[in-house]
Symmetry: C2
Subunit: 107 residues, 2 copies
DNA sequence: CAGTATCCGAATGGATACTG
DNA sequence: CAGTATCCATTCGGATACTG
């Protein structure tokens, strides 16, 4: 009667809100692959199969959810760099597990 | 000139083809939670937020990709049971990592 | 019980053009 | 350079009704 409504008993559901996007694990994987931030163009070249529009969208969502930091340098021409936030870096073990599983069973 | 075309350097991309569906990790998580197969109805009740159509679709894809086994018993009324294949069970470490991460950071 | 069929709106994807 | 804007086609997802 008074209990909180149970939406789901599966913890993964909440996580999928953050990284469930079609390209988000891939984007995070690239950002995690090095300490250095990625310029937008480099990120784009790293993922030839994602369109510019979708890449921008997914980055905006990752930024909104606190996983990715976007930094803009008002030079000429403009430079924008993407990197993981401290919270985003906490995903490392998750992405590493995905990575090593894929290497073992899918390559 | 003669090299194979490089589609992506990110191994995770291939894995997302298998489990990238909106509900697939959740379905697999439930199927992994016990040794016993799930009847369709129980699976459906476990995930109140997924529609029957989508649940069926995702199960078909998981079946097609060799992760889930579907067994039909022509009784009256019909009984259908879903369980993981041997290959599907290999995903356990991946799902456990997702699960424990979600419990630590999202609950 | 475990679906399929249908309809429909939303989200996604891709190409192209334009901008600060 | 790093986007935004627009158009358009395809796919996805949810609700409802029907079936062996």
């Amino acid at each position: 009667m008074s209990a909180k409504r149970i939406v789901s008993m599966c913890p993964i559901e909440e996580l999928l809100v953050l990284i469930g996007g079609r390209w988000k694990p891939v984007i995070l994987w690239w950002l995690m692959s090095t300490e250095k931030p990625f310029r937008f163009k480099i990120l784009r070249q790293s993922m030839p199969r994602i369109s510019q529009k979708v890449l921008t969208q997914q980055l905006r969502e990752l930024e909104r959810d606190g996983l990715v930091k976007r930094e803009m340098f008002p030079e000429m021409p403009v430079r924008v760099e993407y990197s993981l936030t401290a919270f985003g870096r906490k995903l490392r073990p998750v992405l590493e597990e995905l990575d090593s599983w894929a290497r073992e069973y899918l390559l």
